[in-house]
């Protein structure tokens, strides 16, 4: 079910009405019912998958909690009889037991994710490798919507419980709501238990100001999705579907159009998610912080899809980098190649594995794997070139010059947009070929011969997109300058806030990309 479908909007409106009518203590169970109804409406079969993840995560964490309680009681009772070393050994055994529950739960759930998402990818590659067409037939598998998101979110809870940074929840229904909270089920953010649970089960009393603020964010999200992303997608699809026609400058257009589309699509969806949660008095972690204002690729990844980045950092990058094997490898590398190389080994090896995993997480295709590895290459290159940059900046005093900052921002946007072209074309060689045409095919004259009006976008569509770009940029600039979003300035100014919402609503209705036979596009991140 799409965020832009009438069914979804009806479901949310019913939830808003019911949520504030029922007593506070039954608000979270009501949310759970709505979340399961949402998932059931998408496809009843999905419930088996999300149910399995919930039950196994709850079971594993409850067992961890029991082991903890038992150990605490044992250590208390034998405080006098045990030596420090005995206590240490006992705690170590406890940690191993908890680790076993965690590993079993991870294996099962990541196994489900791997089988549902990657079986056909593996089959296709085996067939290619054997050069035997369809020697092994593809399997018809269900891929539950948002499985990557809810699996990662749930696994973070299981790992945190095993690490002892999170208290296992005994109530299975609370765990079920954490896993299935429907506004974020579709495309994240990937929340952590310690953050989301603070407000998810609270059932906060109605607050008109918060509700209005949430509503405004929902409208802003819909504006970006249906007025901009769903309009520009026509042009992007056309440009990438006919690579033999649209080369050179058109690849650049596709690159910039797609950068704008993806930003509006993904951040728009997240705005809708966070806005709905705000209306319910629930705080969901932010997933973006002005990514297109980043001055380098590292900064960009700290601002784009933040919850995915921190997930990979906390659960893959850090544990891998500081694992005994990696430290040992670092030690041996130092002895063999010197300090410089030895120091880099853990960071670069883990970084490579993180980006490989990130690519695989994004989709079962070589395009995504190469996309991940390209990010790794660029990050490594910029890391290695940092001292050189510092020298250059220092010599010419560039760092503080605003013109240079703008240059850095544009450079980052162009670089990231170019890497992202792997999302678009049908395979890796074609992507390289098409991106290559930007550098030798200078067909700029085609921009003015009317070709841009043959992409399914009329002149008025371009005007709407241009206006959309100006509005999105202005709102972002406001946030960058003031350090807070524009809604804070409207808080308490009821009439002005109401006017802004009315205008946004009217713009969505009048300029939203719908019409006869219109079928709103899936959110791009749904497929992940």
């Amino acid at each position: 079910m799409l965020f832009t479908s009438y069914k979804f909007i009806e479901l949310v409106l019913c939830l808003f009405a019911a949520y504030y009518i029922v007593p506070r203590r039954v608000r979270w169970p009501l949310l759970l019912v709505f979340s399961y109804v949402f998932y059931w409406l998408c496809d009843p079969k999905y419930l088996i998958f999300i149910g399995t993840t919930t039950v196994t995560a709850w079971g594993a964490t409850v067992l961890m909690g029991r082991a903890d309680a038992k150990a605490e009681a044992y250590l208390k009772a034998n405080k006098e009889n045990m030596t420090k070393d005995e206590r240490k050994a006992y705690k170590k055994r406890l940690a191993s037991r908890k680790k076993l529950f965690m590993v079993l739960c991870l294996l099962l759930n990541l196994g489900i994710l791997a089988v549902t998402k990657y079986t056909n990818f593996v089959i296709a590659n085996i067939n290619t490798f054997l050069s035997k067409g369809n020697a092994i037939r593809a399997v018809d598998l269900i891929i539950p919507m948002g499985i990557s998101f809810y699996t990662f979110q749930t696994m973070s809870y299981v790992i945190d419980c095993a690490r002892g940074t999170c208290r296992p929840e005994k109530n299975p229904f609370k765990v079920a709501l954490f896993v299935s909270f429907f506004p974020q089920l579709v495309q994240g953010p990937i929340s952590r238990w310690n953050d989301l649970s603070k407000t998810l089960f609270e059932g906060k009393p109605f607050n008109a100001s918060d509700f209005g603020s949430g509503l405004m964010r929902i409208l802003w999200g819909y504006f970006k999705k249906v007025v901009i992303a769903d309009r520009i997608i026509t042009g992007v699809t056309m440009l990438i579907s006919y690579p033999q026609i649209y080369t050179g400058v058109f690849v650049f257009c596709a690159m910039m159009f797609y950068a704008f589309e993806l930003y509006c699509d993904f951040t728009g969806g997240i705005d809708i998610t966070i806005g709905i949660a705000e209306c319910l008095g629930i705080k969901v972690t932010e997933n973006f912080n002005l990514p297109y204002f980043s001055k380098n690729i590292k900064e960009y990844w700290n601002r784009w899809h933040i919850t995915m980045g921190t997930w990979f950092t906390d659960y893959i990058f850090y544990p891998l980098s500081v694992s005994p094997k990696m430290l040992d490898l670092s030690k041996r590398s130092r002895q063999k190649f010197g300090n410089g190389v030895g120091k880099r080994i853990p960071v670069y090896t883990s970084c490579f594995l993180v980006w490989l995993t990130t690519g695989i997480w994004h989709g079962a295709a070589w395009n995504f794997i190469v996309w991940g590895l390209m990010n790794f290459v660029v990050i490594m290159a910029s890391q290695e070139l940092e001292p050189l940059y510092a020298k250059f900046h220092g010599r010419f005093g560039l760092k503080e010059k605003s013109g240079y900052k703008v240059f850095e921002i544009i450079r980052t946007i162009l670089l990231m947009s170019m890497i992202r072209m792997f999302d678009c074309y049908r395979d890796v060689p074609l992507t390289f070929k098409m991106v290559g045409t930007m550098f030798y095919k200078f067909n700029f004259n085609r921009l003015t011969d009317g070709s841009l009006l043959k992409l399914g976008l009329s002149a008025s569509d371009y005007y709407v997109l241009l206006a959309g770009l100006v509005i999105v940029f202005s709102v972002s600039l406001y946030k960058a300058r003031k350090g807070t979003d524009i809604r804070s300035a409207l808080r308490g100014k009821t009439a002005l806030a109401g006017f802004v919402m009315a205008v946004l609503f009217a713009v969505i209705i009048v300029f939203g990309a719908y019409g006869d036979g219109y079928d709103s596009s899936q959110f791009i991140y749904n497929q992940f």
Binding site: D314, S330, K331
Partner: protein, 75 residues
């Protein structure tokens, strides 16, 4: 402590580690820096910092980091 300051200065020589208490919050140290510190600490002090200790509170200042090293060394 001097050896720790040496490690930190090798990463960012322009930071006053004596007074700065927001090394992570102000994004002065990033995840690459943290891993470099962990490997250097392992190398020079023979102290292993586990992944569970890689939290902002332990890396926000040189003082906090030194306290972590001492705590892990005693454990």
């Amino acid at each position: 402590m001097d050896e720790l300051l040496e490690i930190l200065n090798e990463l960012h020589s322009d930071v006053d580690y004596g007074t700065c208490e927001t090394l992570i919050d102000d994004k002065i140290l990033d995840s690459f820096d943290i891993i470099t510190i962990v490997t250097e600490v392992n190398e020079r002090f023979d102290v292993k910092i586990p992944a569970t200790e890689l939290v902002p509170e332990n890396f926000n200042s040189a003082k906090a980091l030194w306290a972590l090293i001492e705590r892990l060394d005693e454990a």
